[in-house]
Symmetry: C2
Subunit: 285 residues, 2 copies
């Protein structure tokens, strides 16, 4: 299976595991295991995608007594995925960073609704540099202002500085039973998934208007020829996660697109192609 | 003015300041200063209200190298406002707490939309105790399960423990120019605002259906008899924050209810009473 081949050759490929295969933040019995089959985003791609999908998160810094301090921040993102903050030295988190450059940033999926721990999130940990200490300080400033236009109101005040978080460690959790770490180099090299901004609408559309097409995909390519119902759980540039009803109970599976989607609007054509191939595959010889 | 009297006598009263009166996380020119007049929630009441309004936040702990680690958590709340987490020892944040009990929790207003930094948030910092180290461990467990019913699926697994954050330090930020600290004892003694769950709907209703009533209040009790327009920005158990148009430009003001509201449904009657008194006050003698 392509997913497993990828895992063997790419140490950064996302772990795709059932609830009790690996240590997990939230092991829950009764939650269907995540499908093993099919291509999917690596942990570094998941992390880059999450970070690209919002402009706010929670910063952890060290207070003057060495205790951890959590605070709300806005951020932009450099080309290598490094978050850029704009903070006032009058605020505790900036005073903390002036004293100790260690920090981490937690970013949660802004599009997730429902049970909190079933949603995606990522922690990026490393050390910060002020933009005046960074060779690419001007780009950092621009990255922040592009993501947070309202920062233009205060960014030039003397008490504000831009801070770049140089990412050394990445921990992604996709929900129950979906989690992995990524190396700093893999994170820097990965790209956000271009279809992410449209994925939720696509999933809703497939479930509302095309349940039969989903079932056809599941029977042809999802390894469950006897599935009786199919729902789409997630869509990404590599394929679709499906939740099935089968004679053996609920099952999760994955169907992959022929090729990785490289444009924001490519989800529809790739899905149509997948349905077409599924119908062909199921035709009697 | 009652607000200022309160501030002088109660060190925990919220600072009510314009953007440049005090150090602030986010000083923004052009944002109308917050009104000084009127009774309002103290920082400890703001913090308790925020913490009561959601069941998820971001935990900051210390990694094995002493670096700060931010992670998503769910929580319930004890009677004294102490958050209760339920974490697996397989997850990094729980391993961090086993090693070092220092932690903080950032909770952001789940009802805020629009500009992120204009929304309320609070950081609670202190030390955690596992429920088996805590005299009221059973209550902690119940507080978590009441807030996060799905935790019942995994709470009894041997790798999960309940953790109580004993709050030592509270930092509240209500948005631009609204922020203050609260002592641990004030936080523990304060109560969440009972009208908070209905406040957003009430504000929308007032702005859509009763702009004239808001203007009457502003002219009678808001210290702007020449106001030409009024919008409600926030509602709470003590009164309403109004944003006005006046001959001197946009102004912020505050109108207070006669008595503090003590029931979740009390906002409507208190507002009706305020309008009635405002009309009386404006009647020619």
């Amino acid at each position: 299976m392509p997913g497993q081949t990828k895992k063997q050759t790419d140490p950064d490929a996302a772990a795709v595991v059932g609830p009790h295969d690996l240590p997990s933040e939230v092991d829950v019995p009764g939650v269907a295991p995540v499908a093993r089959n099919g291509n999917r985003r690596s942990a570094s791609e998941e992390a880059r995608t999450l970070v690209a999908s919002t402009t706010s998160g929670t910063l952890a810094t060290l207070s003057d007594d060495g205790a951890p301090w959590a605070s709300l921040v806005t951020f932009g993102v450099m080309d290598d995925g490094a978050p850029v903050l704009c903070l006032s030295t009058l605020a505790e988190h900036a005073r903390n960073l002036e004293r100790d450059r260690q920090a981490s940033l937690m970013v949660a999926d802004p599009n997730h609704s429902g049970e909190v721990l079933a949603g995606g999130r990522v922690t990026l940990a490393g050390r910060v540099r002020r933009s005046d200490e960074h060779p690419d300080g001007q780009s950092a400033r621009e990255a922040h202002l592009e993501a947070v236009p309202s920062a233009a109101m205060y960014a030039d005040f003397t008490d504000f500085s831009f801070w770049i978080l140089e990412v050394e460690r990445v921990r992604w959790v996709g929900g129950y039973g979906r989690m992995d770490s990524a190396s700093a180099s893999a994170y820097a090299a990965a790209a956000p998934d271009p279809v992410e901004p449209h994925a939720l609408d696509a999933v809703n559309h497939l479930n509302e208007d095309h349940p039969d097409a989903l079932l056809t995909m599941a029977r042809a390519f999802g390894e469950y020829p006897d599935a009786s119902e199919a729902r789409c759980e997630r869509a990404d540039r590599y394929g679709l996660d499906l939740q099935l009803e089968t004679p053996d109970g609920p099952k999760a599976t994955r169907v992959s697109f022929t090729e990785r989607i490289n444009s924001p609007g490519g989800l529809r054509a790739a899905t149509v192609d997948l349905v077409r191939r599924a119908r062909q595959a199921l035709q009697p010889a």
